[in-house]
């Protein structure tokens, strides 16, 4: 058990190191002097500020020191939680900016992932019931997964927002309101949240439904299903077993799909101008704020790694086979 977890943690550790290294390498190995090209493009008007920024970033990059030293100081800064200072919102630290936006992204992501997974699984199992359902639900699922996140977001915003007028189509909450734990603010927050959530939920739903449908067909063909049928067990029991067993690979699928769903969240946020990481990515790109961009990258990677580890733990808890193997069963 500990060996297995240790191995997983090892992989995640390596991934983290690789991600940090990529982050460190990209600006240094791209052609040109990163500091001047960044600041040139950033179009800062105040010359004094520009001078201060120039000094600061040159020091941070430390381009005159040997490479390994640059690398080490990059790490030491990182471990102190220092991701540098934003160009766009100078002189605010990148970490603070990101932390301010993360709750919005998480608020979209977590419900969208969890609900789409649960509903998608039910839906897929339902589709495997008959040929007719299979032939209608399945293509729908494939169309949904093939939809670019931002396009479904646009369609929903247009249909339910612009034309229907049921929901607002931009921002995380109305600018007229100040954030507080009051009912009007929360309901306002929810109406802004709903459309981005819905579009993410729908796209992710298709994938889960298809995955479950394929897995459950496989399980219904398995020997134990056959045997139970031969002993006259009712379809209900066999389906229950198959559903449960088909869920297990779906949990692993959750880990594999995380990256795609997060990407979807970023794109969806841009459509709705939702104040999460996605909009922040767009802003940092438009302002050539690479510190901010790289900071977001690291945060996302760490988030994915943590989520992966949680999924691993859940899997071990749910699948008796891995549990047995880890504690050293009889066979």
């Amino acid at each position: 058990m500990w060996r297995y977890m240790g191995r997983k943690l090892g992989i995640y550790g390596i991934t983290f190191v690789v991600a940090v290294t990529i982050n460190w390498m990209i600006p240094r190995f791209m052609p040109g002097d990163p500091v001047s090209s960044m600041l040139n493009r950033a179009s800062v008007s105040d010359p004094e500020a520009l001078e201060r920024m120039n000094t600061y970033y040159n020091e941070v990059f430390g381009l005159d020191t040997p490479l390994y030293q640059q690398y080490l100081s990059f790490w030491s800064g990182l471990l102190r939680g220092d991701l540098g200072i934003s160009v766009w919102l100078y002189p605010e630290p990148v970490t603070d900016i990101i932390l301010r936006h993360i709750p919005f992204t998480l608020g979209l992501l977590l419900p969208a992932i969890i609900l789409s997974w649960i509903v998608g699984n039910r839906f897929g199992a339902f589709a495997a019931r008959s040929k007719i359902l299979d032939n209608t639900v399945l293509p729908l699922g494939y169309i949904l997964t093939a939809t670019p996140y931002m396009w479904l977001a646009l369609l929903l915003a247009w249909a339910l927002g612009v034309v229907g007028g049921f929901f607002p189509t931009a921002g995380g909450y109305s600018f007229a309101l100040t954030p507080s734990w009051s009912w009007p603010f929360i309901s306002n927050l929810l109406t802004h949240w709903f459309l981005p959530f819905l579009s993410m939920f729908l796209v992710a739903l298709g994938g889960w439904a298809i995955g479950m449908r394929n897995m459950i067909i496989y399980e219904l063909e398995a020997d134990y299903s056959n045997y139970l049928q031969a002993l006259g067990a009712p379809r209900r029991l066999i389906r229950r077993y198959a559903f449960r067993n088909a869920m297990l690979p779906q949990i692993t699928g959750l880990a594999v799909q995380l990256g795609t769903i997060i990407a979807g969240a970023l794109l969806t946020e841009i459509v709705f101008n939702y104040p999460g990481l996605g909009t922040l990515v767009l802003n940092s790109l438009n302002n050539n704020d690479f510190f901010l961009l790289q900071g977001i990258f690291l945060f996302v990677v760490v988030g994915v790694l943590i989520a992966n580890f949680i999924i691993d733990i859940i899997y071990v808890l749910v699948d008796p086979r891995t549990r047995v193997q880890m504690t050293g069963g009889a066979s």
């Binding site: 990209i26 931002m150 034309v163 594999v256 961009l293 992966n308």
Partner: protein, 303 residues
């Protein structure tokens, strides 16, 4: 020890009236011709490909030229209307389809080559090579592709479809490597692989002549999925503004539609066609894939 084929008498004997190779092919065709998913999927993909290939030939001016009146809804002259600047959306659409196919084929192709190579080597060599490649695959798999791409592409000054495809290809191969590895692992234990070794065959020849042909349908399906995936990732990159500079693609059309407030202005004809094109193309590929799976996988035929 046990030798009890599922269908008694069907597997035996020299009395089979026709050669097996032909029988297998004709059996495949038999199911292929009767599989609506395969037929519809292939039909749509081919129609879109045709549009992308032939369409531009009938368009006199480039896709980004300001040809007509601004912000016009679809009409007989401008089939898909015009943008806020008077660009012909139909022209953008057919050119965009071209680059979408290009990025899919190229990005998916690169990912396919990397993925199958890693998968075959890992699955076939085993041991330490497998451990290392597997770890490498897992690392790349965990990294969120689009986010990595955003950071990488952001630093590029010159961006074109080919570079974009290259980056996509180099980051989206891991699941294919995993899938190919597990298939290769199971095929590598077949006795005919050992027999090929005993016949003095080199490893790469065994992979290419013994193993790969036996999973060709599987490989085709992986390629289709990578193709579709590459298109979606490219569209995402374009949408964030990291698309090919001065180019045209379906993703860039979506980007400019959003950037110039097509949504708020109610210009649905600006953002619906590009997204519909992507969805239709990728969706039909997925459905085509299911069809293929049903044709090649006898277990699925019955349902």
């Amino acid at each position: 020890m046990t030798n009890v084929p599922a269908t008694p008498g069907a597997a035996d004997s020299g009395a089979a009236p026709e050669p097996a190779g032909e029988r297998k092919v004709s059996e495949g065709l038999h199911f292929a011709r009767r599989n609506p998913k395969l037929l519809i999927g292939t039909g749509i993909v081919l129609a879109l490909l045709f549009t992308g290939l032939i369409g531009p030939l009938f368009i006199d001016q480039g896709p980004n030229v300001y040809v007509g009146p601004k912000s016009q809804p679809p009409s007989s002259e401008y089939w898909m209307g015009t943008t806020s600047f008077g660009q012909d959306i139909w022209a953008q659409f057919v050119y965009g389809l071209r680059s979408t196919f290009l990025v899919g084929a190229l990005g998916g192709g690169i990912a396919f080559v990397v993925g199958t190579a890693v998968g075959f080597v890992a699955g076939f060599k085993g041991g330490l090579v497998d451990e290392l490649l597997n770890m490498f695959t897992n690392v790349v798999l965990v990294l969120p592709t689009l986010v990595v791409l955003i950071v990488a592409v952001a630093y590029l000054d010159v961006r074109g479809v080919v570079v974009q495809a290259l980056f996509i290809g180099l980051t989206s191969w891991p699941w294919a490597a995993r899938a190919v590895r597990s298939q290769a692992l199971s095929l590598a234990t077949r006795d005919y692989v050992d027999l090929a070794r005993l016949s003095g065959r080199r490893t790469w020849r065994i992979i290419t002549t013994e193993i790969a042909p036996n999973m060709s349908s599987y490989l085709v399906m992986s390629f289709i999925l990578l193709f579709g995936g590459a298109i979606l990732i490219a569209a995402g990159l374009d949408f964030i503004g990291l698309g090919p500079a001065n180019g045209v693609s379906l993703g860039l059309m979506l980007e400019s539609a959003v950037a110039w407030s097509a949504l708020q202005l109610g210009m649905w004809w600006w953002f619906i066609p590009p997204g519909a094109g992507i969805t239709l193309l990728v969706g039909s590929m997925y459905i085509l894939n299911v069809g293929l799976d049903e044709v090649f996988n006898p277990k699925l035929r019955e349902l």
